[in-house]
């Protein structure tokens, strides 16, 4: 299949830098997620790869060949649009066959290929339907079949599941990944949904203000966010700002906190991020879990959401967030004094 290299790509709209020199490599067969808030440049990059946006500088290489100035219709890409953009005046069969027929491929071989694609997306027998007769999930699959029918080198997905409701989205995530594995195509997708990015991606890049803040495997990026922005955008985080006191030790307004991460030199400022689910919440009377980071506070709010409860805890003038799994233990009540503990392994040193 194919390798895509994004090499210092820049794009300006008037004074706004939509892409500020982005470099990324998408490996062969990789499912790569571009995650970020709106206006962060992720969609601009996807559209630049597709050919709808011409970069001001930098190269986009597909298998070593610069395609930055190749017209869209000669790029050998498949794309699924946000609202699918199925041609409303064509049947499902005609929609999927479109890519073949503009290449002059018609007749029995083309029909067979369309049937294969429908089987791949589990819609065999839907040839004669019109797009408006399909549910959102079915339209999504037809759009995928249409994008894959010409055996493109690269598949681009623009918020592929954004228009579906939650349950269907989760189901389609699994199917999408399965189909992508089956076809083995290098796939780049854009999303602003962090859970979707984590579930689907082999690797993910977090965008902010036209830059890649961090790129890596979902586990790496989630567990070891490089910056405060990455920590906050992908998941939630509690931040503690302070100065390095000793190796592995940061003095904050709430006391000294320990970390296993490398720290700047002694006396320099440092920021520690802790994921809310990494913090244990204990009644003051309970024995310590033996973790070396310990804090005390007063619980101000408990939001029950079935499988977990979100607690807000007040420490001085700071408020921290803690998620507790619902294991059937008695819940804490607002107003209760509690102890927070976490391991130094979960104190992640981030750039501010």
């Amino acid at each position: 299949m194919s390798v895509v290299e994004i090499d210092r790509v820049e794009k300006r709209y008037d004074s706004v830098r939509a892409l500020a020199g982005v470099s990324l490599t998408f490996a062969d067969g990789e499912f790569f997620g571009l995650l970020g808030p709106s206006g962060s440049g992720k969609t601009t990059l996807l559209r630049a790869i597709a050919g709808f946006v011409e970069p001001d500088s930098g190269e986009i290489r597909l298998d070593g060949r610069d395609i930055g100035h190749t017209p869209v219709h000669r790029r050998e890409i498949g794309m699924v649009f946000q609202n699918y953009a199925l041609f409303p005046h064509m049947s499902v069969h005609e929609n999927i066959a479109f890519g073949l027929s503009v290449r002059g491929e018609r007749g029995a071989a083309a029909d067979k290929r369309v049937s294969e694609m429908l089987a791949l997306v589990r819609l065999a027998g839907f040839e004669r339907r019109q797009p408006r007769q399909l549910s959102g999930g079915q339209q999504q699959r037809v759009a995928l079949a249409r994008a894959l029918v010409t055996r493109p080198k690269l598949l681009l997905l623009d918020e592929p599941l954004g228009a579906l409701d939650k349950r269907l989205r989760q189901q389609m995530q699994i199917e999408l990944k399965q189909i992508q594995r089956e076809v083995g195509i290098t796939t780049v997708f854009v999303t602003h949904d962090q859970e979707e990015a984590l579930t689907l991606s082999d690797r993910v890049a977090i965008f902010n203000e036209g830059n890649v803040v961090q790129a890596g495997k979902p586990l790496e990026v989630y567990e070891r966010p490089a910056t405060a922005f990455a920590a906050n955008f992908l998941g939630d985080a509690n931040f503690f700002e302070g100065r390095v006191e000793a190796p592995g030790r940061v003095a904050t307004e709430l006391g000294a906190l320990l970390t296993n991460d490398a720290l700047p030199a002694i006396g320099e400022p440092a920021t520690i991020a802790v994921r809310p689910e990494k913090i244990s919440l204990l009644p003051l009377s309970a024995p310590s879990r033996g973790e070396s980071n310990k804090l005390q506070g007063r619980l101000t709010q408990a939001v029950y959401s079935g499988m977990s409860t979100t607690y807000k805890i007040k420490l001085g003038d700071r408020e921290l967030t803690v998620f507790e799994q619902n294991r059937g233990e008695p819940a804490f009540a607002a107003g209760e004094a509690v102890r927070l503990e976490w391991s130094p392994a979960h104190s992640v040193v981030v750039k501010p």
Partner: protein, 260 residues
């Protein structure tokens, strides 16, 4: 109180409809009245339609009008669709200004447009004639076509054309296989509009038609000046039916265009 109000409103509606349709109804009835002097009671007869058949001037003028309206419809729809596509899908210098310039011709009195066209056409040496009529009518129809097709194009956005491009369609293939079918309802509506604009046009035709080869509205006008005959009622009845039929078709297609 509310009943009185409701009765008043109904009267108001009846008056409006009366103002709009009574003159037309009278004309249609008189087209079928045997008396040339509008005598009552109405004696039902199709004598004026029979007279019409032998009135070469009116028949020739009708043929001229229909041919002109059809050619105008085709030319204006093609040019207007191309312009609307450019306005809707391409960024270019002066686009907003050009779009703004579409509207004044709709509001400038036809008399002034007609005069200025006549002056221009004589100045550049093409004078009067079918070609001048066609130029004038196309110029007059274009804004309507561009606005109607443009509204349709804005309705569906560029995503379908982008999808076609990613699937390997050249801009040409994408235009014919995706854009044209999708904007077809708008094009049909625009074509009917262009036809009606040309077919009902009097002022500009009056200035630009060559002597001896006029369009129907101009011919009717000169017929009336020479002395009113009920044949004009008969031909007007036919025109009204054709025009109203077209406008109903237009409404049908335009609504169809808005729904999808």
């Amino acid at each position: 109180m509310s009943r009185l109000w409701s009765t008043l409103l109904k009267c108001h509606l009846a008056l409006i409809l009366g103002f709009l349709y009574v003159p037309i109804a009278v004309m249609i009835v008189m087209a079928f009245n045997r008396s040339p002097l509008y005598e009552l009671p109405v004696v039902w007869d199709t004598v004026w339609f029979q007279h019409l058949v032998s009135n070469d001037r009116l028949i020739d003028a009708s043929v001229n009008s229909v041919v002109l309206a059809l050619v105008n419809m085709i030319v204006a729809t093609m040019l207007g669709t191309m312009a609307a596509f450019a306005f809707a899908r391409y960024e270019f210098r002066g686009r907003s200004l050009l779009q703004l310039l579409l509207f004044p011709p709709i509001t400038i009195p036809w008399l002034i447009i007609g005069t200025s066209m006549l002056v221009l056409f004589f100045w550049i040496g093409i004078g009067r004639g079918f070609h001048a009529l066609l130029l004038g009518h196309v110029a007059l129809s274009l804004p309507y076509v561009i606005i109607v097709v443009g509204a349709r194009l804005k309705g569906f956005g560029p995503a379908y054309e982008e999808a076609a491009a990613t699937l390997g369609a050249t801009p040409w293939q994408s235009f014919w296989r995706v854009t044209v079918p999708l904007m077809a309802p708008g094009m049909v509506a625009a074509a009917l509009f262009a036809f009606a604009v040309s077919f009902d046009q009097f002022v500009i035709s009056y200035f630009l038609a060559p002597p001896g080869r006029t369009t129907l509205p101009v011919e009717i006008y000169s017929a009336i000046r020479k002395g009113f005959t009920p044949e004009v009622n008969a031909i007007s009845t036919i025109i009204i039916l054709v025009s109203m039929g077209l406008m109903l078709l237009f409404a049908r297609f335009y609504k169809f265009g808005g729904e999808r």
